[in-house]
């Protein structure tokens, strides 16, 4: 028996830049239907935008979901780490899938190009960081080909204007979360993450460089694997491009990617915000296409 074609009902909790950009992405999705866009204030630009597009809105924060528990099946949490921690037990009780875009680190770490299928067994997905989304599809491949890689390092440069106050205040959390995720996905015991803000105008695109220390790197295998991984990411992040293929330089392997945003609600230079939203949409769409997995969480 085939499943009836119906879109997955999703709610977006948090009406800031991330939430509003996600809303525009859900509108383009063949699998997702945004049934509720939730903020805390009817005067916020995000709420105004959603309302103008005929989306059902609320200013009641988490209460909007508590009061209408059948209104959605999946919640994108785009609030803050502290709020996401408060929301999770409530949403868990209500049987909602949570795709968490805050740095709360509650659920299973999700990199769609790497472990999307495994994630469908979890009710809460942690989308890690922008640098993690940009680099882990590649460091994961390095880890498969060279399980004995001694060290991996990722350096992300982003436009200053794309780094909001929360990113700046929590720069340590960004670094430590990204390092932990690289270690966990690549199996490499030593990992380092560096974040650089560049104020140049016009704004720079997000760029991530991956360095690895590997004895006798198999450059042919790495090149094939990296090309495959880039193609996989491009399926859900159209602005993801390889700008330097695996290269040996100064005793290290270097790979560089660039991430241009789609410019939905956030400006195109904010590839760092776009990639994490694209990954969240990919995760939600995977649930939408797997109704059996959805039922397990009820």
């Amino acid at each position: 028996m085939t499943q009836p074609v119906s879109k997955l009902k999703v709610a977006i909790l948090g009406s800031g830049n991330i939430g509003t950009d996600l809303l525009l992405k859900t509108l383009r999705s063949a699998y997702l239907d945004c049934t509720l866009f939730i903020g805390r204030n009817f005067n916020s630009p995000g709420i105004a935008k959603a309302s103008g597009m005929g989306i059902r809105i609320s200013d009641r924060s988490i209460d909007a979901i508590i009061n209408d528990p059948s209104g959605c099946d999946l919640v994108f949490d785009c609030t803050s780490a502290a709020d996401a921690k408060r929301h999770w037990p409530i949403l868990q009780q209500l049987g909602k899938i949570v795709v968490d875009l805050t740095p709360a680190k509650i659920g299973k770490m999700c990199i769609p190009a790497v472990n999307l299928h495994d994630c469908l067994g979890s009710q809460n997905l942690n989308m890690i960081t922008c640098g993690g989304q940009a680099s882990i599809p590649l460091t994961h491949q390095i880890g498969i080909i060279h399980p004995n890689a001694q060290y991996m390092e990722i350096v992300s440069s982003i436009a200053s204007r794309s780094a909001g106050p929360a990113t700046r205040l929590n720069i340590d959390e960004y670094v430590e979360t990204t390092e932990g995720a690289i270690q966990s996905f690549s199996g490499c015991r030593k990992a380092k993450a560096i974040l650089i803000l560049n104020p140049a105008t016009p704004c720079i695109d997000m760029q991530t460089t991956i360095f690895a220390k590997i004895d006798n790197p198999d450059m042919e295998k790495l090149t094939v694997a990296v090309n495959d991984a880039v193609a996989k990411v491009q399926k859900y992040v159209p602005g993801y491009h390889l700008i330097l293929p695996p290269t040996r330089e100064g005793g290290r392997v270097v790979i560089m990617v660039k991430v241009q945003g789609r410019g939905d609600y956030l400006p195109a230079f904010a590839g760092n915000l776009d990639i994490i939203n694209c990954a969240a949409i990919a995760a939600a769409e995977a649930f939408a296409q797997s109704p059996r997995k959805m039922k397990q969480h009820r």
Partner: protein
């Protein structure tokens, strides 16, 4: 007599000059001589500060902790200083363990327009009772009003002073005067200046800063530092004395310390090489010239072209990966241009 507080990053900025390979013996020897000369603050670490040992900006021979211990054991009157850039170092991994080793002075740095990345780190070090300064790097890239706005943020986070770094050695004395004066006139905290010698102006710029009201100046023994080097401290101390400023440093013993540095640390006294001069003209972070020269050889392109392109793209400190990106582009262009 006006007082100037000298901070000496020979064992931090100097690490750039030896590709982050300073040894324990070198750290101990120089720390002891600087201490003997009465240098008030001795800054120690990787060239890019705590937690910066990396493939991006160079792996250091020694761990941060080992360097700090070696220096600590040799400082009795001089204070032990560290430098850190949020985005490289974190409080938990790097700053807290360093403070536990007996650090006295903490400098928290950001690119000159990104002071709000330093809030947590400045606050934390202050809560731990340390002497804390904010640092704006690459200060030639922002106008005086922007620098003031960023310094005000650092003041509000708890910094007891702010230091402008001319990380590219790109500034001219009149620019230094204007920027320092604007800070001195509007801030309630101490103002400092850290020069580099790419255009041969390190001492002149330091004096310009002092005359505009700066009360903290940085210099390193023999100018040991990134690229064309820093302000040579023994020269700075002598010139400041001639101008009538008091640094509290014993000139003879400072000259002895410089001799120790020359004998034990400095492989070659910093010179203004073509690459360093171009780096100053292009406004590119001084520490880039060493990797630029290496990568230019590997890709067979002109290092000066790489440096000017880095300047055009407004690369900031820590963006060494752009060197390979640009060299790769230049090499491709070159091979397209000359069909063989």
């Amino acid at each position: 007599m006006k007082k100037i507080l000298i901070s000496d990053p020979t064992l931090r900025d100097g690490n750039h000059a030896v590709k982050q390979q300073l040894t324990l013996e070198q750290v101990a020897a120089y720390a002891a001589s600087a201490n003997a000369a009465g240098v008030p603050i001795v800054e120690v670490g990787h060239g890019n500060g705590l937690g910066a040992s990396s493939l991006q900006v160079g792996m250091s021979l020694l761990e941060d902790g080992a360097m700090l211990k070696a220096a600590r054991e040799n400082l009795t009157t001089s204070k032990l200083g560290i430098f850190l850039i949020p985005g490289f170092a974190t409080i938990n991994k790097d700053l807290r363990p360093a403070l536990d080793l007996g650090v006295d002075v903490v400098r928290v740095a950001s690119h000159c327009t990104e002071a709000d990345t330093t809030q947590r780190h400045i606050g934390f070090a202050r809560e731990c009772g340390k002497e804390v300064y904010g640092v704006l790097m690459m200060s030639h890239m922002a106008q005086a009003d922007i620098l003031l706005q960023e310094c005000r943020k650092m003041e509000s986070y708890g910094a007891e002073g702010v230091i402008l770094m001319d990380s590219a050695g790109a500034s001219l004395p009149f620019e230094v005067s204007e920027k320092v004066k604007s800070l001195v006139d509007h801030l309630n905290i101490a103002v400092g200046y850290h020069a580099h010698n790419n255009l041969g102006l390190a001492v002149a710029n330091s004096i310009a800063a002092a005359q505009a009201g700066a009360v903290i100046l940085d210099g390193t023994a023999c100018g040991f530092g990134a690229g064309a080097g820093n302000t040579p401290l023994e020269i700075l101390v002598a010139v400041l004395a001639k101008y009538g400023y008091n640094t509290g440093i014993d000139l003879y013993k400072m000259l002895d310390a410089a001799d120790v540095a020359r004998a034990k640390l400095v492989e070659r006294t910093p010179v203004i090489s073509s690459a360093s001069l171009v780096s100053g003209l292009a406004g590119v972070f001084s520490a880039f010239s060493t990797p630029v020269e290496r990568v230019a050889r590997e890709y067979n392109v002109d290092p000066r072209d790489i440096l000017f392109e880095l300047g055009r793209r407004k690369a900031v400190a820590g963006q060494e990966d752009k060197i390979v990106e640009i060299a790769d582009e230049l090499a491709r262009k070159k091979s397209r241009g000359t069909p063989e």
